[in-house]
Subunit: 278 residues, 4 copies
Amino acid sequence: MKSSVLLVECADRPGLVHAISGTLFRHGLNVVGNQEFVDRPSARFYMRTEFDGPIDAPALLADIRTALPPDADVRLSRLEPKRIVVLASKEHHCLADVLVRNLFREFNAEVVAVAANHDLLAPLTRKFDIPFHLVPSTDRSREAHEAELLGVVGRHEPDFVVLAKYMRVLSPEFVRRFPARIVNIHHSFLPAFAGARPYHQAFERGVKVIGATAHYVTPELDAGPIIEQEITRVSHRDTVEDLVRKGKDLERMVLSRALRMHLQNRVLTYGNRTVVFE
Amino acid sequence: MKSSVLLVECADRPGLVHAISGTLFRHGLNVVGNQEFVDRPSARFYMRTEFDGPIDAPALLADIRTALPPDADVRLSRLEPKRIVVLASKEHHCLADVLVRNLFREFNAEVVAVAANHDLLAPLTRKFDIPFHLVPSTDRSREAHEAELLGVVGRHEPDFVVLAKYMRVLSPEFVRRFPARIVNIHHSFLPAFAGARPYHQAFERGVKVIGATAHYVTPELDAGPIIEQEITRVSHRDTVEDLVRKGKDLERMVLSRALRMHLQNRVLTYGNRTVVFE
Amino acid sequence: MKSSVLLVECADRPGLVHAISGTLFRHGLNVVGNQEFVDRPSARFYMRTEFDGPIDAPALLADIRTALPPDADVRLSRLEPKRIVVLASKEHHCLADVLVRNLFREFNAEVVAVAANHDLLAPLTRKFDIPFHLVPSTDRSREAHEAELLGVVGRHEPDFVVLAKYMRVLSPEFVRRFPARIVNIHHSFLPAFAGARPYHQAFERGVKVIGATAHYVTPELDAGPIIEQEITRVSHRDTVEDLVRKGKDLERMVLSRALRMHLQNRVLTYGNRTVVFE
Amino acid sequence: MKSSVLLVECADRPGLVHAISGTLFRHGLNVVGNQEFVDRPSARFYMRTEFDGPIDAPALLADIRTALPPDADVRLSRLEPKRIVVLASKEHHCLADVLVRNLFREFNAEVVAVAANHDLLAPLTRKFDIPFHLVPSTDRSREAHEAELLGVVGRHEPDFVVLAKYMRVLSPEFVRRFPARIVNIHHSFLPAFAGARPYHQAFERGVKVIGATAHYVTPELDAGPIIEQEITRVSHRDTVEDLVRKGKDLERMVLSRALRMHLQNRVLTYGNRTVVFE
């Protein structure tokens, strides 16, 4: 018997938790996790409830909606494995981490394909019996490349797309096809060092801490809602190569944490921020 | 018998450690700490040596210089307590921390005065028997304010100036009077959120980690060489007020670590970066 | 208008949040914070609710109790400043931190007295206009010392006692007088290095990380419920003195975090564990 | 042209760095990294020097030894990839991490074989074209199991053995065959929670931080010299399963950092402690 997750966002008012928990109780559902949050500046209410038990989805949704303000955004879903397509380029560390975790079912997901603009990671991907698609980006227009990429990705009907050091900027058109459904790992502590070569930027600035950021991709580069960040200390002794090496360990850790949260329906976006119900 | 510190910067070449350690050895000095660093991109050599024993400073310096390339920057100093003036404004946490550590001689320094543009911290300062100077900034020009401030600071003949949440931008003219001799604590993880209201900026951006940065003040705002940084995790549950509160604990920790390093002659700047010989 | 806090512990069953939130709602109270937790192994339910508004305490408690299982432990209290007595010995860092935060009302508390078995910290305490009691421990029996200490502490009628590096073991009799009302800071990452000279123990063991632990004092030494812990990295270069110095910064940070949580009624103990509703 | 590493341990005395750097200079060698450390309590000197250039090893060693106290322990070695055998059991996360890093040559090593007492990880190992040896431990004596294991391991002539969550205690006889040549990852912050089921122990104790420790294996269980440790925060909300999951990410990170240091000849043991020249 699978679990279900209810996500609610609406204007805050007294009695919301009462109303929702009462409705679930009357439907005979066993709540196994319950988290709510009120963003005071905007007076918005956010709630995630995970529960076991057979559900009559239309009736439950109707009852929940009746109990809430009319503007409420209510999402009810089974906690079933999501289909994900991974986009990569030349660096193996994030892709390998996702492939290993996928093999051992650590995520609530199934990696259905990998696509990359270089073929370096094809042997790694194939070790894990995952289809690998080479979609070259050199000697062709960005439009042509993206059109082919969109075809390849779309064919696998993914619920989500993961950029595992994809290293290319996706066009706003591509991004809008997957709203809040593309997760990227950026190799800096955003908003510091957005854009290209963040470790070089960090080295030049002489920072004593470097970081990595997992975020949803929006049309604006490296500006989407942040899901997770982590940092590690560095010193003057660290060369750019050291920063890159230390950063890689951060990147895969941050990406895997973000994916785990995201794939369990634990992340809600509001404005450019996220609620992460850990 | 006080310790001495030798700081060296020069073009790198084989045999530098050999040459310096040999010179100290021939002068009968007992090295108690020795750290060197070569910045490969610029091929510059940096070294800090701390040693005990009576020194003939001119003779030692002459011998050290003879052993090094002609461009060598050599600084020899006793590890004696430095005189510091602290500038503050309304927030007490960094100033209180510096005053307590000063009282118990945790720094290699003596706080000789506190100056502030508000009088809120006068009672705290006077508890510790340190002169407090009110230099108001309202209803007068920045030039007039700085002129008075410079007079007050200068009268105490400080070796260093510490900005303990001073919250005002010093003019380039002021800054140039104390090259690499003003340490500031900025309440963000620079270069993210430079300028005003960094915690509000951090809240708006929805970051999952906040930080604080101690740096040398240069004419360009929040852009000087970084001495120390530290971070702490935050979540969507943290309001701006929570960020401010958590950040304050970071700020005083980062400032005290930076001051400790700085006051033991453990920090060398090169370009806009620092070597910190911990 | 002060806030109130309701703490509930009882056997878990469906509908508890519903029942409690409904009761508060019917009493016209405005919930400003609400956190619950179910310990699955023991099937116990824990909840903290903070709310504003005038309360009829007996009526509210009666209604809450009616809504809960008969074994429920229900505590209702105003969020008023607590009276705390601090016990210290020779080390200043934790005491100074508490005194500064007390001066600026950072805790929901008032430090009403400091007692110590040495007089080194009397001048510091008096700077902050807090009564200082010297209760010598040398050349007398532990019983005689504790009897005097208990008299001194009791005279101030504290809600809580804080051991700010008190460095002496309190007898079980003393401890039982203040159940879950004494907070201690231990200078190690418990349960590692319980007992005497933890930094020496850590140095001998060659650990790469050291820590500090704030916990409730129980009759068994260093074994009470842990409220907060934090760590910092160390290396072979750190001497015992370095560990002590780095540890002190940890100790005061951990102690102040624990006190803040404790003094806002955010900590519940269960068995030897704590729920900390941040 | 491969790099070489010189490791020196001897009684401390003035002029040692001078003597060693002079000898290398006279041999025409280009030092690319140089770190020394004096353990003051024992007055022992430790140094690691990495250099490029063709060496006449016997002549260089003789000259170095002449320059040092007679008790000096001098080790000179090429920085060549080491042969390692990995022992595992049922958990995949550390083994997978080592196999991926081995595939992409992130360590200065070659994994020549994997041996395990269960066959669950055989498919994973074979994906990476590494020989997998099943050495069952059930229904047979420890002596018989170890004898077979020793045969399997020995056949591959490893420089080092890595216990990647091997979960069995090796006999002192086995351990003595590989002095300071077996690296283990223990899933706690040693010395806390040595022995079996450390996450269960940590849960019972109610700690707020968990850790992992990489150490050299000695005949005494979980008591060998520590190479690396790391921790992560946990709360009352974390079940034992959560601790295990979070801990796994720590374990593989700590193990890979320790292996990297160890395989670049950056770790010296002294007593039960390590010098790690990062």
